[in-house]
């Protein structure tokens, strides 16, 4: 990568601070805020000193070329990196002002508040569709049948899957098509009523029709949830997100309203990435 002239660097920093303090579109409050977040895999940097707010009832897209640290950053937001001992994290991630990396915080509770949908659909193959949806509720000890039925129906409806599966809730989750499995994964994440939903390239393994359904779904969901979505698909980011974060080589290059970032990026690298010059 070319070295950035000092002058440009200043501009970036200035832009960042302007966006973060007062993002023009995001009238809602800040839900998650990363502060000086640095993530290392052993000695290699995954994410370098990223500070960015994520607003409530809003879709934030993380874009950037492969290996730029998008997924690393996303997984940091619900402490998924705890599973890998080689990863070290410094800085803060504040959820409603509370640092989720505080030693007093139980990661299990954080993950209940911040749900996640993965790149590949991950229904539990031995469980039925119904059991998949209510799996998270059963974990917290809810056994009330009518409540479970109600939540199951609600979550599946929210995930736009209920009409397709209502007659075969007892058949295995693995029997669905890829797109349906991904919506089932979303329903499962919704069933525990999280506050934030993280999506890691949720449509990368799906066909265009299923992709469109998921995008519609995201649009619906943002009325009630904050959503952070990692995507390689730039048109998708433009379609679904309100704010966008452009990352490059582990650094946050630009953050702001999606429309502005796509039409009139302030950084040269953002412009080059968006116009397809690299990445």
């Amino acid at each position: 990568m070319e070295k950035i002239p000092e002058k440009n660097k200043e501009i970036i920093i200035k832009n960042d601070s302007i966006d973060m303090a007062n993002c023009p579109t995001c009238s809602t409050k800040v839900r998650i805020e990363a502060k000086n977040l640095t993530i290392k895999y052993g000695k290699e940097f995954g994410v370098k000193n990223v500070s960015v707010p994520i607003h409530d009832k809003n879709v934030t897209a993380l874009i950037g070329p492969s290996g730029c640290g998008k997924t690393t950053f996303l997984r940091c937001l619900n402490r998924m990196h705890d599973l890998n001992k080689k990863v070290s994290i410094s800085g803060q991630v504040l959820l409603d002002g509370q640092d989720i990396y505080d030693s007093k915080v139980n990661p299990v509770n954080i993950r209940r508040k911040i749900g996640m949908v993965f790149q590949k659909p991950t229904p539990f193959p031995t469980m039925s569709i119904y059991d998949n949806v209510v799996a998270g509720l059963k974990l917290v000890g809810i056994r009330n049948k009518s409540l479970l039925n109600e939540v199951c129906e609600k979550a599946l409806t929210q995930a736009a899957l209920f009409d397709e599966v209502k007659d075969r809730l007892k058949s295995p989750g693995g029997s669905l098509s890829g797109g349906q499995q991904q919506r089932l994964s979303i329903a499962r994440a919704l069933a525990i009523e999280p506050e934030v939903i993280l999506m890691d390239e949720p449509t990368s393994s799906l066909d265009p029709k299923s992709t469109l359904k998921i995008e519609d779904l995201i649009f619906e969901l943002k009325k009630n949830y904050s959503i952070v979505i990692v995507t390689h698909n730039l048109p998708q980011a433009a379609r679904v997100s309100d704010c966008s974060i452009f990352m490059y080589l582990g650094e946050l290059i630009e953050y702001g309203k999606t429309e502005k970032l796509f039409k009139n990026p302030s950084d040269k690298r953002t412009e080059e990435y968006i116009t397809g010059k690299f990445g």
């Binding site: 599973l83 993950r111 993965f118 991950t122 229904p123 539990f124 193959p125 031995t126 974990l139 525990i192």
Partner: protein
């Protein structure tokens, strides 16, 4: 350039013949070797069957299987039922004893133990699995059986002698050898097998499945229960069945510890026999044709039982295993 290379590869006749020939030779060689295995298994079964012809002629196949007499001294009458019973009971009980501890060990090694510890336990488990069964047997004879005699058989014998003296013939003399001793030793011997196979099955569970459970707010144990064990169930059950097959065929340690009583009634606390143990004990003294033939027939029965167990294992693996997130 590319064109040139294409010419070199495709146009030289010697290359075409050479490649064609190589393909054919490899194909026929692997076909023949593959066929050998199949033929070998069939041949073994056939030899066992033909060698046991005399027994089957004398007692009938079914008559031999359900016969309870095994008298090689006086009446020359042979029946396999006590040994089939002894084999199945010791194997089933040893599997029941070994199953849960093995899974717990496997979960510990695969999921909880830090890397250095799991490496050590891994190697130790393999080492235990590699101990020759005669070594286990001699430990059983000189250490375990006396201990069992003093803490287990003797009290039961005394209690029975006091309360139900008529049952003493079933219990047999409290020498420390018997079904319980053999079953426990068998369980110890198959624990490493189930552990290794379960551990492999657990390690094959995709990381995405674990993460999906974690993302729902599951604790470590809940992840294991919800995502890992169900996903690995095919491998775990197949491992248990294969270990069961090994327990059925285990010879030396069992022959050394089971007490070698050749006729009913058996009791779980008294001496008994299994098919392998009676074969190893009697093949030297088998001089009459009918005796040899009966031992061969026992061998055939063991062969068939092992075959059935392996087929069940294969069926379970196929039925329960999970590929690409879909239940097959």
């Amino acid at each position: 350039m590319a064109n040139n290379l294409g010419n070199i590869i495709n146009k030289k006749p010697i290359h075409i013949i050479y490649r064609w020939l190589g393909d054919k030779i490899f194909l026929s060689l692997s076909f023949i070797l593959g066929l050998t295995i199949v033929l070998l298994a069939i041949a073994m079964g056939f030899v066992l069957y033909s060698e046991s012809g005399e027994t089957f002629k004398t007692f009938g196949v079914w008559g031999f299987i359900k016969g309870t007499d095994w008298d090689a001294g006086l009446h020359m009458s042979f029946g396999a039922l006590p040994f089939i019973f002894g084999t199945l009971v010791t194997s089933i009980f040893s599997l029941l004893i070994a199953f849960l501890p093995s899974i717990a060990i496997a979960i510990f090694i695969a999921e909880y133990a830090p890397k250095w510890l799991s490496n050590i336990t891994d190697n130790l488990i393999n080492l235990i699995a590699a101990i020759p069964s005669v070594v286990v047997g001699i430990w059983g004879i000189f250490v375990f059986a006396p201990w069992m005699r003093d803490t287990f058989y003797m009290p039961i014998f005394l209690w029975t002698a006091e309360n139900y003296p008529t049952l003493l013939p079933i219990i047999g003399s409290p020498i420390g050898y018997g079904m319980t001793t053999a079953t426990i030793i068998l369980a110890l011997m198959i624990i490493p097998y189930i552990t290794v196979l379960t551990k492999d099955a657990i390690k094959k569970v995709p990381q995405e499945q674990r993460e999906a459970a974690y993302a729902l707010g599951a604790t470590k144990w809940e992840v294991i229960r919800m995502a890992i064990l169900p996903y690995a169930r095919g491998g775990i059950m197949a491992g248990a069945m294969l270990s069961f097959g090994r327990a059925i065929g285990e010879t030396m340690a069992v022959a050394m510890l089971i007490g070698n009583k050749n006729s009913f009634p058996f009791s779980i606390v008294g001496p008994a026999s299994t098919i392998p143990s009676v074969i190893i004990n009697e093949f030297r003294e088998a001089v009459s044709n009918i005796h040899v033939s009966s031992l061969m027939a026992l061998g055939l029965i063991l062969f068939v039982i092992s075959l059935i167990v392996n087929l069940i294992a294969a069926y379970i693996t196929r039925k329960l295993s999970i590929t690409g997130g879909k239940v097959i």
